[in-house]
């Protein structure tokens, strides 16, 4: 089982020191996390790591998952989409059912804790069954431009909490309570981010038949039009006039997503049999392969037109790569333009920055180093755990903006 000491020498020492101090202050208080799935998705991934780490620090920590049937999850998926601006149809029954399932869960779950972190909109009505303690709503999605009627329903629950946490300032929406901003993070000790030898990197290149004979441009993302894969190909073609290189577009095969399949076909057609364009359909659980692909790249792209936080940017930055990202969603929070990577607003902009990096290895190396350090200081899981305890502690000392430990 992972321990905090496993992160020594990787995470910044002050983060680990503060984590231990905060845990010491808060111990033996009881912390409860509630979300709607044990597996799959970024929230479960982080909780899987966070819960044992906090337990090792003396906090009594539990993680509960609400149960629901297909109808419930169809409704919560619609709520999720509408909070991100997609128009969905709702009836009063659906909202009643959302509440009823939470009410049933409240009867079976042990909600007795000193601090309760409720993740995302699925379990948000649980606040109505609060027994005691501090309740914090952790909203992982961008709710800046939601369908108003849906937001009104969700915020009616959310406003009963003691505090809310959003991932980026611009994803937040006004609720009359304390709103904190805590960015998502990556785990440097996970398969996707662990250090890896050159041998393994070469083996993965062989496996996917990618010759390492010229500089490699890479974009790892779902095959989705918002990730602009064809725009990346157009940028690559502009670069190719000046610099010989290969392009790898890697994403999951998304067999359950008909639109994903259509996008893959479009991208394959658009690539037009160019032997230097490699379109990889990765199976599920390809974390190690993605890790290797990121390490073999000279330049990594995330040229999204619309994006959530976009943690693939941080993953590549952690491997010391210069990343060129679309100026959307959470990408500008990760890329400090010109320092830890480049932000672009067009295919032409992307092509120009790629050429700049390919022709200036010193700049690419310096930017990659800055990027890795920036991730070390801002986007590792230990910082996120620290911040959760920080918010808990700050809420117990509500009126103060400076706290001495």
């Amino acid at each position: 089982m992972l321990k905090l000491s496993d992160y020594a020498g990787i995470s910044p020492k002050p983060d680990l020191q503060l984590l231990a101090r905060l845990a010491d202050k808060l111990s033996p208080k009881r912390l409860l996390h509630i979300n709607s799935t044990k597996e799959g998705g970024g929230v479960a991934e982080i909780l899987n790591r966070m819960v044992p780490l906090l337990g090792g620090l003396g906090i009594t920590v539990r993680w509960e998952v609400i149960r629901g049937d297909q109808r419930f999850f169809t409704i919560t998926k619609k709520i999720h989409n509408s909070l991100q601006g997609l128009d969905e149809t709702f009836t009063g029954d659906m909202w009643d059912y959302h509440f009823t399932v939470n009410e049933k869960n409240a009867r079976t779950l042990d909600l007795d804790a000193d601090a309760v972190f409720v993740h995302d909109p699925q379990p948000v009505p649980l606040i109505k069954f609060r027994k005691n303690g501090l309740w914090i709503w952790r909203c992982h999605i961008d709710v800046a431009n939601p369908v108003e009627s849906v937001w009104n329903r969700v915020s009616a629950y959310a406003s009963s909490y003691d505090a809310a946490i959003f991932s980026v300032s611009k994803f937040a929406r006004q609720i009359p309570l304390n709103e904190f901003i805590i960015t998502p993070t990556i785990d440097p000790l996970s398969e996707k981010n662990l250090d890896m030898g050159q041998n393994e990197v070469c083996k993965v290149a062989e496996k996917y038949q990618i010759p390492l004979d010229k500089p490699l441009l890479l974009q790892v993302s779902r095959f989705d039009r918002f990730k602009d894969p064809n725009g990346v190909i157009r940028a690559y073609r502009m670069v190719k006039k000046y610099n010989d290189c290969r392009l790898v577009l890697a994403g999951s095969s998304a067999t359950d997503d008909p639109e994903g399949e259509a996008v893959i076909r479009e991208v394959q057609e658009f690539a037009d049999g160019d032997p230097d364009i490699h379109i990889l359909l990765l199976p599920a659980f390809s974390d190690r392969d993605i890790n290797a692909l990121q390490r073999m790249a000279s330049v990594v792209l995330q040229k999204s037109l619309k994006e959530g936080f976009g943690l693939t940017v941080t993953e590549a930055m952690w491997k010391g790569k210069p990343v060129i990202g679309g100026n959307v969603g959470g990408i500008p929070t990760q890329i400090m333009n010109g320092v830890t990577g480049f932000l672009v607003n067009s295919e032409e902009g992307a092509a120009f920055r790629i050429r700049q990096l390919l022709n200036n290895p010193d700049l690419a190396a310096r930017m990659g180093e800055n990027a890795r350090e920036y991730v070390r200081n801002h986007f590792l899981i230990t910082r996120q755990i620290r911040d959760y305890l920080f918010v808990w502690y700050a809420m117990l000392n509500k009126s103060k903006s400076v706290l001495e430990l």
Partner: protein, 217 residues
């Protein structure tokens, strides 16, 4: 002589629940938000650890998102350390924006998603466990303490409690009996270095003094 106790600090952002999409809205925001928010977007700009084009969040947004470089330069020219209170700084910032608006037409609003978000921060200060009893120990500690400790003493040190000099030069003058060295640190331009650059420079200045002392008969 009291020893120098190295501390470090960490912040968590708190939303001030207000956004601005135009210069007019930015002006309104600067006029009305809490002191804590003005403080965060100006004094705590150095938390980013890198030297960027402009020297506070307001200027950075006006320059990057609205592409109003003249106003961005004017806002960047406001040195928060010239003021003895956040309210006086607020007055100057609003005067700069008002003056600009009176002379130039209102520019386009920011694109959706690029609005300015007003924030505040909550800070936790905690000890590093490192203490310096003399100049040599002080020099040695500077080499190894975390960057957040340099940030805390060099930047936040000027504004905790009363507005004044940074913690390093204060200690060098009052406790270590080194007023000349203190003066040199006090004259370092706080806007021109990232934290690591600043560390190197402070070490260079202090090391020169330690060497000179050791060579003096």
């Amino acid at each position: 002589m009291n020893p120098f106790v190295f501390k470090q600090c960490t912040n968590v952002l708190k939303s001030a629940q207000r956004k601005a999409g135009t210069i007019g809205e930015l002006l309104q925001g600067i006029t009305e938000v809490s002191e804590a928010s003005i403080f965060h977007h100006t004094y705590q700009y150095f938390l980013k650890g890198h030297v960027l084009e402009y020297t506070n969040d307001f200027a950075q947004w006006v320059g990057e998102s609205l592409e109003e470089h003249t106003l961005a330069e004017h806002l960047s020219g406001v040195d928060p350390y010239d003021f003895s209170s956040v309210e006086l700084l607020r007055e100057t910032l609003t005067a700069v924006v008002r003056d600009y608006l009176s002379r130039f037409p209102q520019p386009r609003p920011a694109l959706r998603g690029n609005e300015f978000s007003f924030n505040e921060s909550v800070t936790i200060v905690f000890p590093t466990g490192i203490v310096a009893h003399n100049l040599a120990e002080f020099l040695q500690a500077l080499r190894y303490i975390d960057g957040s400790s340099i940030y805390y003493h060099f930047y936040e040190g000027r504004i905790h409690g009363v507005f004044g000099p940074d913690d390093f030069s204060q200690w060098l003058k009052d406790q270590a009996g080194e007023p000349e060295l203190a003066g040199k640190l006090r004259h370092l331009d706080p806007f021109m270095y990232d934290i690591e650059g600043l560390r190197k420079l402070i070490i260079h200045v202090v090391e020169h003094k330690v060497q000179t002392d050791m060579e003096t008969l």
